[in-house]
């Protein structure tokens, strides 16, 4: 069981990494893009917008986390 858990932790670290919110923003951005595309909207800008906002917030969190150390 501990090996299975270690493997799960490794997979999480490998793909998701230090900030799970970045991964979530990508999933939400792709979902919103696909949903808008389904309605005929040229939604190419949606994913970049999600990425810019999520990255900015992630960097700000890293900086703040640092501040209180």
């Amino acid at each position: 069981m501990s090996r299975l858990r270690a493997f799960a932790v490794f997979c999480y670290d490998f793909v998701i990494g230090d900030d799970w919110r970045l991964a979530l923003s990508v999933v939400l951005g792709l979902t919103a893009t696909a949903a808008l595309a389904h309605r005929g909207v040229a939604a190419w800008w949606v994913l970049p917008a999600f990425v810019v906002v999520a990255s900015g917030l992630s960097l700000r969190r890293a900086r703040r986390k640092n501040k209180w150390r």
Binding site: V15, T33, A34, L59, A62
Partner: protein, 251 residues
């Protein structure tokens, strides 16, 4: 060679070069302190495992419809690229420790020396395991990039070629130097790889979601440029008010 193929080779070459530098540091530390027999066996076993993994998964990926592949792989590549880029930005702005190959070499060598010695002709399980883990784990990231980039671009062999070329070049430099490759601008290379993975992930993800970019393939260089400028801009903003150093995974 098309722009896409060129970017494919460049991205896999750079990513592979960075990971090979890191694997080489571990292998050198183990080989120098524990002997090369079991260390080399560990390297060979790891490379064989990675080759089998790429061949098996690669074959499976080619069977997936291209739009689904671009959506899933684009998303994964974007998540992966954003993590690389985030770390690279934090390192470049002084908020995260720079990857120091000399320090890692010293630490790994000290740990290897502390283990009980074995007969140089006998199998050294410690040396084998450590070199296997070092090469396999660093190589896994390269395998991931080779598979995702290669499958989406429709050429896994070309992606593997870029990665293999980097392994040969870095290994040759390492053998010539007989020391950890501290002079290779590893953090700058990681920054460049992060930009490429993020840009391609974004491009393929949006296309996989059923949307065309303005200018179609012509949008890709613009995305790369905007991503690079944004990342460099973030470094300048973070550098303007440095606080300290973020701790955490340093791969």
């Amino acid at each position: 060679m098309t722009t896409g193929a060129l970017a494919l080779v460049l991205a896999t070459f750079l990513a592979s070069a960075v990971e090979t530098v890191e694997a080489l540091t571990i292998v050198l530390a183990v080989g120098v302190t524990r002997g090369w027999r079991s260390t080399t066996a560990g390297i060979a076993a790891a490379l064989a495992a990675l080759t089998v993994l790429v061949a098996l998964v690669g074959q499976g990926l080619t069977a997936i419809p291209i739009d689904v592949l671009r959506l899933v792989v684009g998303g994964l590549l974007l998540i992966f690229g954003l993590q690389w880029l985030r770390k690279a930005i934090l390192r470049a702005s002084g908020l995260k420790e720079i990857h120091d190959e000399v320090a890692i070499f010293a630490r790994e060598a000290a740990e290897a020396r502390a283990r009980p010695p074995v007969d140089p002709r006998a199998f050294d399980a410690y040396a084998f395991t450590l070199s296997f883990k070092g090469v396999f784990l660093e190589g896994l990231e390269v395998a991931f990039i080779v598979l995702t980039f290669g499958a989406t671009q429709g050429s896994i062999p070309l992606a593997a070629l870029g990665a293999a070329a980097a392994v040969l070049v870095v290994t040759a430099i390492g053998i010539a130097a007989r020391a950890p490759l501290a002079r290779i601008p590893e953090n700058t290379l990681k920054f460049a790889v992060g930009v490429l993975l993020t840009s391609f992930g974004m491009f393929w993800g949006v296309e996989g979601a059923g949307v065309s970019w303005p200018g179609n393939d012509g949008a890709l260089p613009v995305i790369v440029l905007v991503t690079a400028v944004s990342a460099i801009g973030s470094v300048f903003v973070l550098r303007s008010r440095p606080i300290g150093t973020v701790t955490g995974a340093s791969s």
